[in-house]
């Protein structure tokens, strides 16, 4: 299986995991030592390192999920991720850098379907066989504004 197909497959399951669950499986799309960050295009272009969400281990991603389940208070809502095709930027054996545009719709409570975020995934994957795991995912949101709060990951 070529890298493009492996990554596209992984991303389809990643989106489904967040949107339709179980969210507990979300950290398993990452390697144990990984980097996940949600930031804005402006911060990314300026090289500013902070994130709305910032994690450098799979454990921190598990904590994000358990905090959402057990600790944090927010109005129930659901996402629907729409992902574009991954653009493969570099390939070196199983190490693949890619970018994928996305937008995410959010439905809060019984409310309308709102466009919540658009942006791109800037990724580094490790592909082994037909399995692609994220070593790094920087979620670069186009807008600097977050509506109300960001609870579920992007």
């Amino acid at each position: 299986m070529d890298n493009q197909v492996a990554i596209a497959r992984a991303q389809a399951h990643y989106a489904r995991c967040i949107d339709d669950g179980p969210l507990e499986d979300w950290p398993m799309f990452f390697t144990e030592n990984c980097h996940y960050r949600v930031t804005t295009a402006d911060n990314y272009a300026r090289g500013l390192p902070a994130g709305l969400i910032w994690a450098d281990t799979r454990g921190m991603l598990k904590d994000r999920v358990s905090a959402l389940k057990e600790a944090n208070i927010y109005e129930p809502h659901v996402y629907r991720h729409m992902l574009g095709q991954p653009a493969i930027l570099t390939e070196s054996g199983g190490d693949v850098e890619s970018e994928t545009p996305f937008f995410v719709l959010r439905v809060t409570g019984g409310g309308p379907t709102d466009l919540f975020a658009s942006g791109r995934y800037v990724d580094r994957y490790r592909v082994e066989g037909d399995q692609a795991l994220l070593r790094e995912r920087v979620v670069v949101c186009d807008s600097k504004e977050i509506d109300t709060l960001l609870a579920l990951p992007l």
Binding site: D42, A50, L52, G59, N72, Y74, I146, L149
Partner: protein, 440 residues
């Protein structure tokens, strides 16, 4: 200062305000006329508003676009190294002078008709001022120096840039007072901040609900489980509330106190915030002493819309900007310091998870204002109750108090010109006459 004409305060809306600080009328979050009056009387009035950080425009020619209330403002550093600020609005037809959030400029030229301003906000050139071929052009008595955006008075406190459109207020040191200044100095004094990231949050509520929330130490460890469970902030910890004399500014702080973590106050209350919750990767909370003392949390507000935060090693400033009766823009700027080691910087990155729109201890604040805004719909004649810790706006060692929230309203009704009214409802509870609906 030449074009600074002072406050533009209009009439206060014709409303009566309870004399007691324990009651806040809900119409104050809903009334469009009140909202308009706030722009004049508070944001364009005699108050220092936070504009930006000096670190965001360090070099001559750097500029930063920001706001005072709804009004766009440019803050610049001229070649003389001084800080200037003026309204980001062309004196000709009112277009934005600069559209970028940050940048470098030698001067500013409005895209509409190419009127040009220098870095101090003076109008220096008007396109086709002499007309073409001896025809058209500006009248001979048109004087460049008579036209320009209004300039702000500027004050810089430990790298924080404040501005005002009014001459009718004291300098910033007097405005803040010694206790607040000391507490700003504690976090920012003697070291150079570095911007680590900027984020913005759109809140579906009136700006004053966020201003209240920031001053509300009572909710912090009830709504936010993270604070309590990991002993970051418990009401039983050593700490205090400082409310300044005007009421408008406050500091809430707490310090490491091992005995409090083991105390039973929370379990006894049987509230949700006492749980068995554990982190899979506890490195999130492994920090260092921020400035060499035991204070792990310090939230400081400056009336009307500024917040300086130290939560463990997450340091940030927040700017509260009104955008409508039920719409607020909250700007977050995450800070580190030039003196940070690599390890300290990593701690700041990890602890950035605590704050901001996705923060473990602050995401709730994004939603709660909206819950209130929705909850009070249809209740514009009703009042919120602020009786926790008494009815005054004084500093206290207890943080089980709404003293700093009452302080905000003391400063607010003063700045809005609301006259306290003895006939407005007093803080007795449960005396409403209820109309019973009888089903046929």
């Amino acid at each position: 200062m030449d074009r600074l004409t002072g406050t533009t305060a209009g009439r206060a809306p014709d409303r009566s305000w309870p004399r007691s600080l324990t009651r806040v009328p809900y119409w104050v979050f809903q009334d469009e006329a009140v909202y308009r009056a706030e722009q004049d009387r508070i944001f364009h009035g005699p108050h220092w508003s936070y504009l930006c950080l000096e670190a965001e425009f360090a070099e001559p020619g750097d500029f930063c676009a920001t706001f005072i209330g709804e009004q766009p403002v440019l803050v610049t550093r001229d070649v003389d190294g001084e800080v200037y600020a003026f309204e980001n609005r062309c004196a000709h037809r009112g277009a934005l002078i600069a559209m970028a959030d940050h940048g470098k400029a030698r001067d500013f030229t409005c895209v509409y008709h190419a009127w040009t301003y220098n870095l101090q906000g003076d109008l220096t050139a008007v396109a086709f001022a002499e007309g073409v071929g001896g025809k058209g052009g500006m009248p001979p008595n048109f004087c460049l120096s008579d036209h320009g955006p209004r300039k702000l008075r500027i004050a810089v406190v430990h790298g924080l840039v404040f501005g005002t459109l009014s001459n009718d207020l004291p300098d910033i040191e007097e405005y803040l007072g010694e206790e607040i200044l000391d507490r700003i100095d504690r976090v920012l004094g003697g070291r150079k901040p570095v911007v680590l990231g900027r984020f913005a949050q759109r809140l579906p509520n009136n700006w004053k609900l966020y201003a209240e929330n920031v001053r509300d130490s009572y909710h912090a460890s009830i709504l936010h489980l993270f604070f309590t469970t990991f002993g970051i902030n418990r009401l039983s910890q050593r700490g205090a509330i400082i409310v300044d004399e005007s009421g408008g500014h406050h500091v809430s702080y707490s310090a490491i106190d091992r005995t409090a973590v083991a105390s039973n106050e929370y379990r006894d209350q049987k509230i949700r915030s006492d749980s068995e919750y554990q982190l899979a990767d506890p490195s999130l909370l492994e920090g260092f002493s921020e400035v060499g003392d035991d204070v792990t949390l310090q939230i400081l507000s400056v009336y009307p819309g500024f917040v300086l935060q130290q939560i463990q090693n997450s340091v940030a400033v927040r700017q509260i900007l009104p955008r409508g009766t039920d719409d607020t823009l909250l700007n977050w700027t995450y800070l580190g310091f030039e003196s940070d080691t690599e390890e300290q910087r990593l701690v700041r990155m990890k602890q950035s998870n605590l704050v901001g729109p996705a923060g473990y201890v602050s995401m709730e604040d994004g939603g709660i204002g909206g819950f209130v805004q929705r909850g009070i719909a249809g209740a514009s004649d009703e009042y919120a109750t602020l009786q926790m810790g008494g009815d005054t706006a004084e500093s206290s060692e207890s943080r089980v108090t709404e003293a700093s929230v009452r302080g905000f309203w003391l400063a607010y009704r003063e700045s809005m010109g609301f006259v306290p009214d003895d006939d407005a409802p007093l803080p007795e509870i449960g005396k409403h006459e209820r109309t019973r609906v009888v089903r046929a």
